[in-house]
């Protein structure tokens, strides 16, 4: 069985959701780039300090942003952290955070390339 892996950034889906408004997509990417580091920092702090409720809240916010940007893979990783926070599952959180950070970096790079194409 071939299960499709979610892409880092589904630009086709994103454009279709914003009525093909490339200017808006560019604006949304800019907003993301400006707010993502502070959210990520708060999430990292919450993981480091073993504050599951904080992990849940920050991950939930990031998940919402990422879903709006059609960044399904990063959104799924944020959801995993959200669920771990919700369940108070500290074990494995650090690893999940590292993978999420890596995905975030990939996403930012992909956004740059999309902007470049526009």
């Amino acid at each position: 069985m071939n299960v499709a892996t979610p892409s880092v950034l589904n630009i086709t889906e994103l454009l279709s959701r914003v009525d093909n408004d490339r200017e808006l997509v560019s604006e949304l990417f800019s907003i993301f780039k400006s707010v993502f580091p502070s959210h990520l920092q708060r999430l990292s702090d919450a993981v480091a300090n073993e504050l599951p409720r904080q992990v849940e809240v920050e991950s939930h916010t990031l998940k919402g942003m990422l879903l709006n940007l059609s960044a399904a893979r990063a959104a799924a990783m944020a959801e995993l952290l959200e669920n771990m926070g919700h369940d108070g599952k500290i074990a494995g959180m650090g690893q999940a955070l590292t993978e999420f950070q890596r995905e975030g970096e990939t996403l930012l790079l992909q956004m740059e390339s999309v902007e470049f194409q526009q």
């Binding site: 959701r17 942003m65 879903l67 709006n68 059609s70």
Partner: protein, 322 residues
């Protein structure tokens, strides 16, 4: 139409704002639940709202509960935005007073369709409120003259007398009766009689202050309550009101008619223990005294001087002949 977006996520907020501006909405965007509740509880606040579930200060369901506590304002149609997809979450959201929910990431077509549903509900509510107001108006106003009907003007009189007693401020009661109205109806028909009543009501309304009360008391009788009316100026005010009708003929479909009225006036701040019915009886007697004295004049009764005593004031024309 004005719409509120409440979302702490800047991306979601901008996405919604742009989508809704493009759809022709007048958008108000806030970043937390407290600001959303403030906006929605304003008298002229948005009636349509998109509320994120998770927000600082107050979350989406808490905003819904706050808004629903305000029962005296128009309906606000609220849609919760959520990336929560569990049935229990949806039940919680709708239970808090939300009308609908939308799952993130939203589809712009679905969002607009759901907002149109909201607008239909609000439009329907507007029509119901309008119908209720029409019924309330019909129940409290006379259909021919649009003045307060008898029940309402008598109730207002009771309230004003209580206030006058309590605050020791003078109030004047004027009962006006159109002279020879039966002969107007008999000679020119009821439609002309109706025209006379409508014009009399219009002129009386123009001759009283915005805080005075005027109602149709009976067939051709009008009751006026002059609040806080200085006793020294009551005769002059009553005379101005009488002249408002008699000074110029009433234009009717059969031509101009000269119409006059007789008036009974009672004024005091010292009402004793008289009931509204007794006071109305007193002022009615004064009005009949004016009729008996030749019509087109005013008769005063003043309990402060002598209960039941009446002074019939001649018209200005009669005064000039003396």
């Amino acid at each position: 139409m004005k719409i509120l977006i409440a979302d702490d996520d800047a991306i979601s907020r901008r996405l919604l704002e742009k989508t809704l501006l493009r759809a022709g909405y007048d958008v108000v965007a806030v970043q937390n639940g407290l600001a959303a509740a403030e906006q929605l509880c304003k008298e002229d606040g948005p009636r349509l709202a998109l509320l994120d579930w998770e927000m600082p200060e107050l979350d989406g369901p808490a905003v819904c509960r706050e808004v629903r506590k305000k029962k005296d304002q128009g309906y606000v149609y609220m849609i919760l935005l959520t990336s929560k997809g569990l049935k229990t979450d949806i039940v919680t959201g709708l239970g808090s007073g939300a009308d609908d929910y939308l799952t993130k990431p939203f589809d712009s077509g679905e969002l607009k369709a759901r907002l149109r549903t909201g607008q239909r509900i609000l439009h329907l509510e507007g029509r119901l409120v309008e119908a209720r107001e029409n019924m309330r108006f019909k129940a409290t106003h006379d259909s021919l003259t649009s003045l307060f009907n008898r029940g309402v003007i008598v109730e207002l009189l009771g309230r004003e007398i209580s206030r006058s007693r309590r605050e020791r401020v003078p109030t004047a009661i004027l009962l006006c009766d159109i002279d020879h109205f039966k002969s107007i109806n008999d000679s020119h028909g009821h439609l002309t009689g109706d025209e006379v009543l409508q014009e009399a009501a219009r002129r009386l309304l123009l001759s009283v202050r915005s805080y005075d009360y005027l109602g149709r008391y009976g067939g051709e009788e009008f009751l006026i309550i002059l609040n806080n009316c200085d006793p020294a100026s009551t005769p002059r005010r009553a005379e101005e009101i009488r002249k408002a009708l008699s000074d110029n003929p009433v234009e009717t479909s059969i031509g101009p008619l000269l119409v006059t009225m007789s008036m009974g006036v009672h004024q005091t701040e010292n009402w004793g223990l008289r009931t509204v019915e007794e006071l109305l009886h007193e002022v009615d007697s004064a009005m009949y005294a004016a009729k008996a004295a030749g019509r087109n004049r005013i008769s005063f009764t003043n309990l402060n001087i002598s209960p039941g005593a009446r002074n019939v004031v001649p018209t200005e024309a009669e005064q000039s002949l003396r």
